[in-house]
């Protein structure tokens, strides 16, 4: 339990103290330090007994997500330090607005981790809501009209979504209370799963619809995704990285917890078709939307929608293979996509633009950066030997054997999206360089390599403990 307290406490305390930092440099360093500490503490989870009480718990599902979250948080804090310094240097950001940036970053980390380790429906909800507040502030950091507009849109849409999720949460409690009696334990995952089979299936169904719409909005599932491209496109790049890399995951995590409950109950309507429907819709829509993008960050935002759709589809399909694929894809997507946003940040700095039309021939003008981008885009396009290939392979093969008709839209979406990405990849990385070339800027590519190395390793080799966790969770996900 101490471990959890540290994991949650470190960012919480930092969030309170960071506004007091004398300068943004000190703030950035503290930020890195805290993230590092959190990451190290989270690693301890592998070695200690898994703590469980009515408020917090660690199980097969959230253990790796916690570590993943702290890891991405750490790399992002590294990246963000260089990024913010560059932005200030080039007067894109106002130092006054930055006072709360690092604090908000830590607050965001806190809410993410809280959502993951919470053994309580209410905490989970509060965490996701808190994340909305924290990220909304970070998105509007540059105080341009566009960024404020994006933050506003994000805030309103997610606010409504979160409200619906709350209703769903109340309905779940409503179903649990007659069976389990009143009290905190009737909101604890670990308890709910045990009593699940006795709940009123109608209430659970009703709840799941609200939760799907609510957390689905947060996860960026079509047609509830409208906030996502704007928020990714207009916010500072580190924020885009954590939005895609962490927030979407946590929202999906929440949804999956509820799905487990429905599966445990066994008498509800199957939640699968709903998730399949929304997943496919996200996949196809986002794939199509990829084609006409002119802003690199918005393009990758749509790619995030595509991948979240894919993951949702896999979980909706169910079965050991598909669930395994979904879990793997979820993890690898967050690593890859955050790496991509780091690269995009560097690219935007050296080229001074995010406009796709002005970004050409990066492998020629900036070889290391350009080739890193190629590698990352190859990864996100699902090509081997990088890990996303494994998960997409499992998804496609399982779909065609379990539900051949669904394979058609799945494959269509994948290929259409692939086409768009490939087109952009060639445009970005190859050809004759175009536009301004700023020298310097950027900063270290190490965080990116760390992410991509993990994705690469996962493509050829998955460690046994991870597989065990995945398989355990797969069983619960039905």
């Amino acid at each position: 339990m101490t471990v959890i307290l540290f994991i949650l406490g470190l960012p919480a305390v930092a969030a309170i103290l960071l506004p007091l930092a004398p300068s943004h440099k000190v703030g950035a360093k503290t930020n890195i330090g805290v993230c590092m500490a959190t990451f190290c503490v989270s690693l301890a989870l592998f070695f200690v007994d898994r703590p469980t009480d009515l408020l917090f718990f660690i199980d097969d599902f959230n253990i790796y997500l916690v570590v993943l979250t702290t890891f991405v948080g750490l790399t992002t804090s590294f990246f963000s330090a260089g990024y913010i310094a560059h932005e200030i240097e080039h007067k894109h950001l106002d130092v006054r607005n930055l006072r709360f940036y690092h604090a908000m970053f830590q607050a965001f980390m806190f809410t993410m981790l809280l959502g993951l380790v919470a053994n309580n429906l209410g905490f989970l909800w509060v965490a996701v809501e808190g994340a909305t507040l924290a990220t909304a502030l970070m998105i509007s950091l540059s105080r341009t009209q566009a960024s404020i507009k994006a933050a506003w849109k994000y805030f309103i849409l997610c606010g409504v979504g979160i409200a619906l999720a709350l209703f769903g949460t109340i309905l779940v409690y409503l179903a649990a209370q007659p069976v389990m009696g009143a009290g905190l334990h009737a909101m604890a995952w670990s308890e709910l799963m045990r009593w699940g089979p006795q709940f009123d299936p109608v209430l659970l169904d009703l709840a799941f619809v609200f939760l799907l719409i609510g957390y689905g909005t947060k996860a960026g599932l079509a047609p509830l995704h409208a906030w996502l491209p704007d928020a990714h496109g207009e916010g500072p790049t580190p924020v885009s990285a954590v939005l895609s890399g962490l927030l979407l995951n946590v929202a999906l995590y929440a949804l999956l917890r509820f799905k487990m409950l429905l599966v445990a109950n066994g008498k509800t309507l199957a939640p699968g078709p709903l998730m399949i429907g929304m997943g496919l819709m996200s996949l196809v829509l986002a794939s199509v939307m990829l084609y006409r993008r002119r802003d690199i960050k918005r393009m990758f935002a749509y790619s995030s929608i595509e991948h979240i759709g894919l993951v949702t589809f896999a979980f909706g399909l169910g079965g050991a293979m598909a669930n395994f694929a979904g879990l793997l894809h979820m993890m690898l997507h967050s690593l890859t996509k955050s790496a991509i946003f780091f690269i995009v940040g560097h690219v935007a700095h050296v080229k001074g633009t995010q406009n796709l039309a002005d970004l050409r021939g990066l492998t020629v003008s900036h070889p290391p950066l350009g080739w890193t981008l190629v590698l990352a885009m190859v990864a996100i396009a699902g090509l081997p030997p990088l890990g996303l290939f494994t998960s997409e392979f499992l998804m496609v093969t399982t779909t065609v054997s379990q539900a051949p008709l669904l394979a058609a839209p799945l494959v269509l979406g994948l290929l259409v999206g692939f086409g768009a990405l490939a087109l952009r990849l060639q445009g970005l990385a190859f050809g004759t360089p175009r536009g301004l070339v700023h020298t310097g800027g950027g900063g270290s590519l190490v965080p990116i390599y760390a992410h991509l190395a993990l994705v690469l390793v996962a493509g050829v080799y998955l460690p046994a403990p991870l597989v065990r966790w995945f398989e355990a969770v797969s069983r619960l996900l039905g």
Partner: protein
């Protein structure tokens, strides 16, 4: 639970829904704010009654918050906003009053149909109460999308929230009701601050207009 207790609770809940309908019916801004205040009052009473009957003292806090914040501070703040910014005092509808009411009634019917299969005894909340809360939530959402003004949308959002709280207090012994209520109020406060800071006069999207033109080339 005696019938009297139940009837009173039912009447209070029903009044929240009824006031929700009245929100849809309103054409004038100040009238809307007043009705919302009344709805919040109804919610506060319902929470208090629940607290009284079941002896769940934390629900008094919920009632107090509803009373002070939603029936008091927020209506006041909204009135000041309207006066301060000279916001239009008539409501701009995307869907006419009549059709909105019909849609609202349909939503109520849908809610009733949805909760019918719930086994009556198994739920901690009666089916009627659940239907009321569900209807209130849906009507709040309906309000948000059929009214164009920023203020009306905030009110719609809060009406939605009233439905949520109504459900939450109705369930026996739901933990964290207060905490979640507070978390919600923070969000509402943010929205109102947002309107205030960003000078959103009439509509949520009034920020858009110049911005869309220069939107990173995404618009052609």
């Amino acid at each position: 639970m005696s019938t009297l207790h139940y009837d009173i609770a039912h009447v209070l809940d029903g009044s929240v829904l009824l006031l929700g309908f009245l929100l849809l019916y309103q054409r004038r801004m100040f009238g809307l704010i007043n009705i919302f205040a009344f709805q919040a009052l109804g919610l506060a009473l319902a929470a208090a009654w629940q607290a009284h009957v079941h002896g769940e003292s934390h629900l008094y806090a919920t009632a107090l918050i509803a009373l002070s914040v939603k029936a008091g501070i927020i209506p006041y703040a909204l009135r000041r906003l309207i006066i301060h910014f000279g916001i239009h005092r008539t409501i701009d509808t995307a869907l006419g009053i009549g059709p909105s009411l019909v849609a609202g009634a349909t939503l109520v019917a849908l809610s009733v149909m949805l909760v019918l299969p719930v086994t009556a005894d198994s739920a901690a909340l009666t089916r009627e109460k659940l239907a009321l809360a569900l209807s209130t939530v849906l009507i709040g959402l309906l309000m948000m999308i059929t009214r164009r003004n920023a203020i009306t949308q905030v009110i719609g959002f809060m009406a939605l929230e009233n439905g949520l709280i109504l459900a939450a207090v109705g369930v026996q012994g739901m933990p964290l009701v207060v905490e979640m209520g507070i978390a919600f109020e923070v969000m509402v406060a943010f929205i109102i601050f947002g309107i205030f800071f960003f000078h959103i006069r009439d509509r949520f999207e009034s920020l858009d207009l110049q911005y869309l033109e220069s939107h990173r080339g995404e618009r052609r």
